[in-house]
Point group: C2
Chain length 191, copies 2
DNA sequence: CGAGTGATTGACTTAGATCAATGACCGTGG
DNA sequence: CCACGGTCATTGATCTAAGTCAATCACTCG
C-alpha cells in the first residue's frame, strides 16, 4: 500500500467520482476533505462520510464494478489513487498483503463500532470519559491530544463549547488535569 | 463461512473471553446480546460494542494473538465460534473466500461510517430523513421496516418517543405515509 | 499591525430525554 | 375460552442538558 499511487488535485466542489461510474480503485485523502454523498430522489444530498487527510475511501470499490455513491471535494484537496487491478493482483500474488489489508479493515470496523457506541452516550461528560478511557496511553492515565480541541469536539459529536465546559467541569472536580496537548486522569471517579 | 462452527450457550453475565486471552476465532451471535467492554483503570467499564443476533464479533482477532477487550453476555445467549486457524487456512487455500471476507469487511466499514455520519445530525426529523434516504428500496420511495419501531429508534440513537413524534409530524406534514412495516416517501420536501 | 482562528466563558433557548398514562395485541395457563 | 401479564405503539406534560448566539483574549501569519 506504500507504492505511491497517482496523486490528483481537486478543486472545492469538484467530483472525484459519481454513483454508477466504473470503479477505478481506492483513494487516499492527502489533503483537504472529500465527502461521500448520496442524492435522494427529492434532490437533497445526504453525507455518508466526510473523509479528511489520511483517510481512505471507497475500499468496497475493490469488490464492486461501480461506485455506490458520489465523492465530491468539500475543500480544495489532493487525493491519491490506488488502482483496483493492481491491488487485487497483489492480493492474489501475495497472501501476506491480503492479510494485511484484511487486518486493516477489521481494525477499522472495530474502531468504528466503538465510536458508534460512544454516540449512544447522551451526557457530554460521560462521552468525554468514554473517549479518554478508550484512548489512554500505555501508562493508563494520560491521553495525548492530537489536533485542536475543536477537532476533538467534532470527533466526539459535541459542539466545542460543550466540550470546553465538560473539560473545565471535570478539571474543577479534580477528575482530570489538563496540560498542553495532554490530559491526565486523576481521581478514579467513585462508582 | 457457512460451515457450522461450534455453538455455545452463555448465561447472562458470563464471559466469552477476556482481554489478553489467546484468540480462538470469530464469534457469531446466534441469540441474545453480547457486549464487548473494556475496563478502565478506575474500575468502570465502557462498552465498545453491543452485538445482537446475527452480528459477528472479534473479526480482528484473526490477526491478533490475543483479544483486545472482554466479551460478556448481556443476556442469556448462544454464540457460534468460527475457529481462527480454519479460517486463515481457508483464506490461504482459496483466494476467493479471502476476497469474500474482505468484501464483507469493506461493506461493514461503509455501513458503519454512514451510521456514524448519521449521528452527527442533531434534529430527530433530519436523522429520520437520513435513514429513510439511505434505506429506500429499488423504487426510490419505499422503506421496509424490519423489526419494531423501538428497535429502529435505538438504531437511530433516539428514544422511541422522539421517533414516534418525528414520524407523526412527518406524516402530518404529508412528507411520508406510514403503512404497516413500511414507510413511503411522499412529497419531495422543498429545500 | 490587522485579519483570521482557536480557546474560553456567559446568557438564553430549545429539542429531545424523562416520566407517565392509555389502548391494542398476544401468548398462556387455568 | 377468557382473564392476566407483558410488550409495543402512541401521546401528553415537564425538565434539562446541550445547542446557539455572543463576547473576550491570546496567537500566529503575512
Amino acid at each position: 500500500m506504500k507504492d505511491a499511487g497517482l496523486a490528483r488535485p481537486l478543486k472545492a466542489g469538484e467530483h472525484l467520482f459519481h454513483l454508477g461510474d466504473p470503479t477505478a480503485g481506492i483513494y487516499e485523502i492527502v489533503r483537504g476533505q472529500v465527502r461521500l454523498v448520496r442524492v435522494g430522489m427529492n434532490g437533497q444530498t445526504i453525507t455518508l462520510h466526510a473523509a479528511s487527510a489520511g483517510d481512505f475511501i471507497a475500499e468496497a470499490s475493490l469488490f464492486s464494478p461501480t461506485y455506490h455513491c458520489d465523492a465530491v471535494a468539500a475543500t480544495d484537496a489532493v487525493v491519491r489513487l490506488y488502482p483496483k487491478a493492481g491491488m487485487l493482483a497483489e492480493f492474489e500474488r501475495n497472501p501476506k498483503s491480503a492479510r494485511a489489508f484484511m487486518a486493516k479493515l477489521a481494525h477499522q470496523v472495530m474502531t468504528l463500532r466503538a465510536r458508534l457506541e460512544q454516540r449512544n452516550i447522551r451526557s457530554a461528560r460521560d462521552r468525554v470519559r468514554h473517549y479518554l478511557t478508550m484512548n489512554v496511553g500505555a501508562d493508563g492515565r494520560t491521553v495525548a491530544l492530537r489536533g485542536t480541541v475543536k477537532e476533538l469536539a467534532s470527533e466526539l459529536g459535541l459542539t466545542h463549547e460543550a466540550l470546553y465546559r465538560a473539560l473545565s467541569d471535570m478539571a474543577a472536580d479534580g477528575e482530570i488535569e489538563r496540560r498542553k496537548d495532554l490530559i491526565r486522569l486523576k481521581r478514579p471517579p467513585r462508582v
